[in-house]
């Protein structure tokens, strides 16, 4: 069941009504049943998988709490159980391919077995939630004693498929609170859901057309076209995933539950470290807490820190998908984070005037530079393989020469008039970029905290009309569903 489907439009209000009509003590079982119905509507057999993992973690983790000796070993076993399941379902083909290629270099022709594995939706997300739970208990946090509460934590349907990755300390206590119905839940929840759908259907899906064409046939586009297509992908993935997150958060709010935010205007980040504080926050904080810090974090000196940073980001890339281009994307992120640290250290060493570093010109130049560094990374992420990534990147790096001899006739996107989104990019991309700054400015003015009632209603009605016209039901599924 997809968020942008009619099934969900029926499912969500039904669960919402039942939830608020049900006494508090039955709400968790109700949501649990609803979440399993939601998950099993795709492939019923995988309901067993999520249930099995839940049971295994529920039974194993209390041993970590109770253990006085071998605590680390039990934690290791628990984490291994989760990672093995993830490995089998997500990385089996990738590993076999890598082994086959390796053996091929050695002159051995290995016929890999054909496995009929279909990646269960959301497995990367709930496995990370289980690992977080085990590690937190190991660090001294209390275990969840009630199985139903624990079972709802990974399976909660709004966040089940593509996060945000929750923290049990934040989520489980909310289940204990006998929340009373408030209109604010519906207002905020609905606004988030409508905004999420609009981001997905009206923006991301239209940009997807350009991106799809550009990355499938980079040879047909000029260097400047490819830059525009890369910008388009930067906004497509942001609006697609932020749209999903909005719907997830809005759906949770309808039941009075809050789940973490995932984005905070990432494209106004002034450096890559800042970008990762604003992009997919629930994942980046998870990586920091359960990978970077356990690896040693920043405690072992400069080179060890860089090693940890690189490993964390490379594995974070691989988490997105079992393919070399995702690994390359992660490695690139690790590399630019290291370079950023080196740059900061160099600036301090040289003793660049603090006034310059704090000036607005420097800040906005950094924002523009960071955006382009991130965009180059998106090429690895979006390309179907490393060969295409290479083709696109070589096109991108031809831009300075192309700019020297610039003419509008160079731009293939201006020649394509059907679909009209191609030439419209020239107008849409600056608007999307400007909207980020406007939202930031409105944020500062605290506009969002007290929107006039009439504005709220008008915007919601307008969005309902637009979404009805542009039928979200026929829109493709969210990008992050594949992870």
């Amino acid at each position: 069941m997809l968020f942008n489907s009619l099934q969900y439009l029926v499912f969500l209000p039904t669960v919402f009504l039942l939830f608020w009509l049900t006494p508090h003590r039955f709400r968790v079982p109700l949501l649990l049943v609803a979440s399993y119905v939601f998950y099993m509507s795709w492939r019923p057999i995988y309901g067993i998988l999520i249930f099995g993992l839940t049971l295994a973690n529920f039974l194993l983790v209390p041993f970590i709490e109770k253990a006085t000796v071998n605590k680390k070993l039990i934690l290791g076993i628990t984490v291994a159980v989760n990672l093995v399941v993830l490995g089998i379902f997500k990385y089996a083909y990738f590993t076999m391919d890598a082994v086959k290629t390796g053996l091929g270099f050695a002159g051995i022709d290995w016929k890999e077995p054909h496995l009929h594995i279909i990646l269960p939706l959301g497995i990367s997300f709930f496995v990370f939630e289980f690992i977080h739970y085990a590690v937190e208990v190991y660090r001294g946090k209390p275990v969840v004693k009630n199985f139903l509460d624990f079972a709802l934590f990974p399976s909660f349907f709004p966040t089940q498929i593509a996060g945000p990755i929750k923290r049990y300390q934040d989520f489980v206590p909310q289940l204990h609170i006998p929340v009373k119905f408030k209109w604010e839940y519906v207002d905020e929840g609905m606004q988030l859901i409508l905004m999420g759908l609009a981001k997905k259907v009206l923006i991301a899906d239209n940009l997807a057309l350009v991106v799809q064409a550009g990355f499938a046939h980079p040879e047909q586009f000029s260097s400047l076209d490819m830059w525009m297509i890369t910008y388009a992908f930067a906004f497509q993935i942001f609006f697609d995933f932020a749209g999903y997150t909005d719907i997830a958060r809005g759906s949770s709010l309808l039941f009075g539950y809050k789940v973490p935010i995932n984005f905070n205007l990432p494209y106004i980040a002034s450096n890559v470290a800042d970008f990762w504080r604003r992009w997919h926050i629930s994942l980046s904080t998870w990586l920091r807490d359960y990978l970077f810090i356990p690896l040693g974090g920043s405690r072992g000196g400069k080179w060890l820190t860089y090693r940890n940073l690189f490993i964390t980001m490379a594995l974070g890339g691989l988490w997105h998908g079992a393919a070399f281009h995702y690994l390359a994307w992660g490695a690139y992120q690790g590399l630019v984070l290291i370079l950023h640290r080196e740059y900061e250290a160099a600036m301090q060493k040289i003793g660049v005037h603090e006034k310059l570093l704090k000036s607005k010109v420097y800040h906005w130049a950094s924002v523009v530079f960071t955006f382009h560094v991130v965009c180059i990374g998106w090429v690895f992420f979006r390309a179907d393989d490393m060969k295409i990534a290479g083709q696109v990147l070589s096109k991108l790096f031809e831009a300075p020469t192309a700019l020297l001899h610039f003419s509008a006739a160079q731009l293939a996107v201006l020649q394509i008039r059907d679909p009209i989104i191609f030439p419209a990019l020239v107008l849409i991309l600056p608007v999307l970029m400007a909207s980020t700054f406007i939202i930031n400015w409105l944020n500062d003015k605290k506009f969002y905290q007290s929107p006039p009632w009439a504005v709220q209603v008008t915007v919601m009605v307008a969005l309902m009309c637009l979404l009805t016209i542009f039928t979200p039901d026929s829109s493709p599924r969210f990008i992050y569903f594949q992870f």
């Binding site: 029926v10 204990h176 984005f263 006739a409 731009l411 008039r417 406007i438």
Partner: protein, 451 residues
């Protein structure tokens, strides 16, 4: 306000201090105290309540009001998605000719008509623009006298549900034919790759012209599909979503064209370039000169053979009993509709290669033909089984199901022959031919009566 609600909620304190967590998870502490400590939502300004409920209410009432007043008169022929059916009806609307015979069927009929006519007229035919069956018409005129003008509304993948909609739309737009020749084959009923009856291009376009309330329960199988149908007919905006999309597209094209004009270039970006660049964008849409059929010599036609066995293995893989029954239901509806409108229905089982029947499986094929016979008897429909492998060799086909130009000529010759052998169809065709000839003569009279 709503431009980025995630930022808004982020600004509200979302804290979960350990103390509060422990309190919430500790059974000895009353839960209401824990509630106070976790700020789920900050109190909001009074007067802002239930904005979502009001928005839903306004949206629903607005839609009902628009349905009553119907402020914009949309043209059902102005449609975003120009598929085979759209082009057929577009020509019918533009030409204003009276057609006394309508041809319906899938690509098996399309291929037979196009091949034979391209050779007969000795010219290349653009199938988005050409919807006649000249060879058949002339053959009918020779055999039955009078005048014949056929309209070929067969389209690739046409199922009985599409054929029903097509026929109903012809009558609804004052283009009632006297006779319908409907060529069918097992794949119109047994096709694993077949989409739901409501998902075809023909169905989506024709529901703008035809009321489908009477068949809705058979078209929309699942409760969700039925709900979607209900929403589409109840909510004005949903009902006219395609019109609004077209309006939006035209406006955007105009605005973008003004602000960002197309720079001069050595080569123009064509529809074909678009197909290569975005193969999954508007699949099935065709444009003029997209599908052309030219004259072909007998030797070349007989030599040409495309192996489409893998495609048909896939199509025949998992026959869906419900789809089979649904499509037979629509065949029944076609028969009922023809009876009501006094249209003579001629049902033809299209020729297939024995190889294709083997792919389907002889028992399945026999069951299909048996069902057709029972259907024809029950509904008193003229049914001609032309699928006789003894009459057609592999050289009459250009793959396992589609007749080539020479196979097509053989098919139409035999069809006209069979029609003339049966008293019922002979009479129907003779009367129809004479009728059209008489009406044409009256219409062509140049001297006004009052002179």
């Amino acid at each position: 306000m709503t431009a980025a609600p995630q930022e808004r909620t982020e600004r509200r304190a979302y804290v979960s201090p350990d103390l509060v967590i422990k309190a919430a998870m500790d059974p000895t502490i009353p839960k209401r105290r824990a509630t106070d400590k976790i700020p789920l939502l900050e109190p909001r300004r009074s007067g802002m309540r239930a904005a979502a409920t009001w928005a839903i209410l306004i949206f629903c009432l607005g839609n009902f009001a628009l349905s009553f007043y119907n402020p914009i008169e949309f043209d059902p022929y102005k449609y975003l998605y120009k598929g085979w059916t759209w082009w057929g009806f577009d020509e019918m609307k533009k030409t204003n000719f009276v057609h006394n015979v309508a041809l319906l069927g899938s690509s098996l009929m399309v291929s037979a008509v196009a091949g034979v006519d391209a050779n007969y007229l000795n010219k290349t035919l653009d199938l988005s623009q050409y919807h006649r069956a000249k060879y058949l018409d002339d053959n009918l005129i020779t055999r039955f006298g009078g005048d014949f003008r056929s309209l070929n509304l067969s389209i690739p993948g046409q199922m009985p549900s599409d054929a029903y909609m097509t026929l109903k739309a012809m009558v609804a737009t004052a283009n009632r034919p006297d006779i319908v020749v409907y060529g069918i084959a097992p794949r119109d009923f047994i096709d694993s790759t077949m989409s739901s009856a409501a998902d075809t291009e023909a169905f989506r376009f024709l529901r703008r012209i035809v009321n489908i309330d009477d068949v809705a329960s058979h078209v929309f199988r699942t409760p969700i599909a039925r709900l979607e149908w209900f929403i589409n007919r109840t909510f004005y905006i949903s009902q006219h979503a395609a019109d609004f999309q077209l309006l939006f597209k035209e406006t955007t094209e105009k605005v973008v064209g003004e602000i960002v004009p197309c720079p001069p270039a050595t080569t123009r970006f064509t529809w074909w370039d678009r197909i290569k660049l975005l193969p999954s964008y508007l699949p099935g849409e065709i444009r003029p000169q997209a599908v052309m059929t030219g004259p072909i010599s007998e030797a070349a036609a007989r030599k040409r053979w495309i192996n489409n066995a893998p495609e048909y293995l896939e199509r025949y893989k998992h026959p869906d009993k419900h789809v089979y029954q649904t499509q037979f239901y629509f065949l029944q509806e076609i028969a009922k509709f023809c009876k009501k409108e006094r249209i003579e229905l001629v049902l033809v089982n299209m020729p297939l290669t024995s190889y294709n029947i083997h792919l389907l499986g002889p028992p399945r094929y026999m069951s299909f033909v048996g069902d057709l016979h029972v259907f024809a008897l029950k509904n008193n429909v003229a049914f001609y089984d032309m699928c006789t492998p003894s009459n057609y060799s592999q050289q009459d086909f250009h793959d396992s199901v589609h007749l080539n130009a020479y196979g097509g000529r053989k098919f139409f010759d035999q069809l006209v022959n069979i029609i003339s052998l049966s008293g019922r169809t002979r009479q129907a065709f003779t009367l129809s031919g004479k009728d059209l000839e008489r009406h044409q003569a009256v219409a062509n009279t140049k001297t006004p009566l009052y002179q």
